[in-house]
Assembly symmetry: D2
């Protein structure tokens, strides 16, 4: 969801991008990276520090656009690699169904998911990470926090765009929301 994503529209002119973004919802994926133990319990949540579409530098989850011709699964792999590095070894879930859908709008009051640039419909997945993460292209830092920390007021205050809520929904899905 960083400003950098604009460059992915290489095959659309800047003008075309603006035209499209004002007329069609854009397909996105979001991924909440987690560490799990051998019984599947979530022990940690991975939060990026990155430039957000709303102009802030905030804690955030992994995400970005699905390209024309690209499978949703492959978009997940690509964005996870882009944000966590090529050694992260993400475990993409076998089911194509996201655990929730986040609808981002330029109007922050509509759903609470906010993107000043566009209407994006994002498929949100919980993705266990087994490898080594390092900030790469678009993230300044990756921090691993416990589920309790991830839903604390302090961490929430460092997140925007509704990403804090997606983390709570992910913890609820995993049964680890306090």
């Amino acid at each position: 969801m960083s400003e950098q994503l604009d460059t992915e529209y290489g095959w659309l002119s800047d003008e075309e991008i603006e035209t499209v973004r004002g007329r069609l919802p854009i397909v996105y994926v979001d991924a909440v990276p987690v560490r799990i133990d051998e019984a599947g319990n979530v022990t940690h949540v991975g939060l990026l520090l990155r430039a957000m579409p709303d102009g802030t530098i905030s804690r955030a989850i992994v995400g970005g656009r699905v390209l024309w011709g690209e499978r949703v699964r492959d978009a997940l792999v690509r964005h996870l690699e882009k944000d966590l590095g090529s050694l992260a070894l993400p475990k993409i879930p076998p089911s194509p169904a996201p655990f929730t859908v986040a609808e981002y709008f330029p109007d922050p009051t509509k759903t609470g998911y906010y993107d000043p640039r566009q209407h994006a419909v994002s498929l949100v997945f919980l993705v266990p990470i087994e490898g080594i993460c390092e900030p790469s292209q678009s993230s300044l830092e990756i921090t691993w926090v416990t589920p309790a920390e991830a839903v604390s007021d302090e961490v929430i205050s460092e997140m925007t765009s509704g990403h804090d809520r997606l983390v709570r929904l992910a913890m609820a899905h995993a049964g680890t929301l306090p």
Copy 2:
């Protein structure tokens, strides 16, 4: 998914539509209409007869595009009303998560979900229908069949675009796949 949907792009010129469809995945919703009994058991599946994007007249489920600014839920309501009439009383599920995601491509071999016009990412829901259905704008006929009939070779032979598979996936989700 009928050709008639093109008219929904009223605020995009024909040329613009073609440009966009070749460059961005389009957000869709599909709905498998079902009748359920008081314990939630699926007793019947509703199949439309309609013009499909591949040029055939086939049995199909309900579906169509999500418009800019429109919530996924509201797109479901709109397409169900368009295809089943205004007295259908669809019961939209409370969860925003679809039970599966269908990725339609112009290349029919890529996922099995086929749309010659575009790459569409469709959120697919199972929607109980409580009211009276009648073909309206875009469907010629509505037929209610049992789960066993819905997955029979005869009915499958009357469906295209992967809709027969979506019906099987819906029956599996409901636990009524034979």
Copy 3:
């Protein structure tokens, strides 16, 4: 989950019940009753006031044991009718999969779901209610609160056994957790 449920073990002697409860996990269902609008948005959550297994009178969701030979769906219908009355018109979801599983233990620290009497494995469903509710056999009162109220500190303080957490998980599942 009320003490009254013991009477359902009519065909087991009191001694047998105690033997079984200490040796086998018991199958339960829980239902979070909700009011939804025509687009499926959760507008209200129904909370009972009832005697809980931990000896308190607390706000709680609907629930109880699955009997030998009984389908999970039918247990849901039975407990909803028992707690909300016969005019509640619950809409049991078509999918047999619960949105979460609550594991109640006599040790309250094990999962946070607490039942001093037994180890119960509960399948938890979100169930839209369309009819008129009235306290019946086992509940003293039914209150409808908004999703925001349902997860407020005040309401949480009136709940025990982990039911407040199940309400938060249900709101997260419906995308309406604040």
Copy 4:
């Protein structure tokens, strides 16, 4: 689901087991073992060859009882290790919600899930396997087949108790049902 499971009731006398099995539903877990690629696509399904409760030697999925005091997740780990060996490295899903629920009854016509010994309510999970599998305590053989083979008439004819249907439901959940 093998006859061997009876020995797990070590702390219940044979007489007590029979009493309980005729009076209470028993909590089970089933796991459909799969191999997935790096994008989460299911490439193979693991089928055991084992003695089934119905007296046949059949292809089957992994499963068994949840013990008193045991978490569902831990029961999954235990049964996967028992059936696939200690080097199987199963990836237990983070969500506690099963993808479907199978209700086994002594009456095979009730749900299609059949267990002559008992009424069992089984939480069914799709579990990616990353390690090396070898038949251990209760399985004679493990075979890996493609999703298409797993739902073929030939393989179906080698399965009983409704396990063939659970495999189809698992493939549907993963979007790989043909």
